[in-house]
């Protein structure tokens, strides 16, 4: 959003109506913020009421300019409102519960908000998307609700997220438990994908590709999977080629690398990432991604050299991911001792992180890996 959305002139009129805060969740100095407002997924957009120390609106995911304008308009109305409708009250409660990490209770309130929603309620899309996020760990319910909500959202940007999340949930169900959820949600997702009137962001479209690939995979259509992955990769390459600045182009690096790895073409990532490393010499991401590409190419010394460059620049929770990849490189190289030492270093680092950044689950996973080495 920094590269494409916040620079848009259509947001200038909001400049004085909000205080704008950017929180890099990898920065240790933001630990207190993260303790007060847990962030389970990124990016997370929040509108906070500083007087009441309360959340006014909450949205998980990237947004286009019109999407963000709507979020800001709705949030400002809620912030200024002397009283709220039943649906708005339930949504406010759900946002609060979700921001406290109480997903099950939040889901109940999102459902209550949808049940109380008047016709043409402007917040239906955001509420449905938030519900999907809250119940994404319950695949059957998530797929069923997506299919039920989709007709009410058709023609809106939210339909993309709801259909794709529902499809992904359906694809994760056992074949005998899917019924016709997979086929119906695949049809809905394809319908969103083909609707040229919808101003989908590249992010939205990439998400649709991912869900459609999962659906083909779940159906056992290997040929369809390869075809869609190739189409997805070409789409990302095209989007990167249209980027007007190196900043905009690098936004696509992560997904392009994933697509190349999925297609078994890691060599295609090397030149792209080397260019990004030259363009952004202080950014750990290009060398961290190069380490993955070189590993996939079995060029372990080059992978370790790239990992060295990334580790020289990275701190916070993301350093753990870089160390994990480094351990994987050593394992692939056959150097078990170095792999073990790297995981031990990751455990010690994970334990040293401040509250808000420290994750007990992550520590447990690393310790489990270490004990098995």
């Amino acid at each position: 959003m920094k590269a494409f959305v916040y620079t848009d002139e259509g947001l200038e009129r909001y400049a004085g109506r909000f205080v704008w805060l950017s929180i890099n969740t990898e920065e240790a100095k933001n630990a207190a913020f993260l303790k007060r407002w847990p962030i389970p997924a990124l990016p997370m957009l929040l509108v906070l009421d500083a007087k009441r120390d309360a959340v006014t609106a909450r949205y998980v995911g990237g947004a286009t300019v019109p999407h963000l304008q709507k979020l800001l308009d709705d949030a400002e109305k809620t912030y200024r409102a002397k009283s709220l409708s039943a649906a708005d009250t339930e949504l406010a409660k759900a946002d609060r519960l979700a921001s406290e990490g109480k997903n099950a209770e939040a889901a109940k309130s999102f459902e209550a908000a949808i049940a109380a929603a008047p016709r043409n309620w402007s917040k239906l899309g955001r509420t449905a998307e938030s519900l999907m996020f809250a119940i994404s760990g319950e695949p059957s319910r998530c797929a069923t609700r997506a299919l039920e909500l989709y007709p009410r959202l058709k023609g809106t940007i939210s339909s993309a997220n709801v259909a794709a999340t529902g499809l992904s949930c359906a694809a994760s169900l056992e074949a005998d438990k899917r019924g016709d959820l997979l086929s119906k949600l695949e049809k809905a997702t394809q319908e969103v994908f083909d609707d040229r009137k919808l101003a989908l962001s590249d992010d939205d479209r990439s998400g649709l590709y991912l869900a459609l690939i999962e659906a083909r995979d779940a159906s056992g259509d290997d040929e369809g999977v390869v075809e869609l992955k190739a189409e997805w990769s070409a789409f990302l390459d095209g989007a990167a080629a249209r980027a007007k600045t190196p900043e905009q182009r690098t936004v696509y690096d992560s997904h392009r690398l994933s697509a190349y790895l999925e297609l078994g073409q890691p060599e295609k990532a090397v030149a792209m990432l080397e260019q990004s490393e030259r363009d952004f010499p202080d950014d750990y991401n290009p060398p961290a991604r190069l380490a993955l590409a070189w590993k996939a190419l079995n060029e372990f010394d080059k992978a370790l050299a790239a990992s060295d460059r990334a580790l020289a620049k990275v701190s916070g929770p993301r350093r753990l991911s870089v160390l994990s990849v480094r351990a994987d490189i050593y394992v692939a190289k056959g150097d078990k001792e170095a792999a073990r030492a790297t995981v031990a270093e990751a455990v010690a680092y994970a334990k040293s992180l401040p509250e808000g950044q420290r994750s007990e689950r992550r520590i447990a996973a690393l310790e489990k890996r270490l004990s098995g080495m």
Partner: protein, 50 residues
């Protein structure tokens, strides 16, 4: 839920340019003080340099 990727593209920008909007970088206390003084809400983007 199996996902090829659980991230969104726009989460992956290691950039700091906010040309049109006066973002405060990584200073919650400052944002709270300013919002209380102006009686406006705080918009927060929580992100990571992926």
């Amino acid at each position: 839920m199996k996902r090829l990727l659980a991230i969104t593209l726009f989460a992956c920008a290691a950039l700091t340019a906010h040309a049109k909007l006066p973002f405060i970088e990584d200073d919650y206390a400052k944002a709270v003080a300013r919002a209380q003084a102006k009686n406006v809400p705080i918009f927060v983007e929580a992100w990571a340099p992926w």
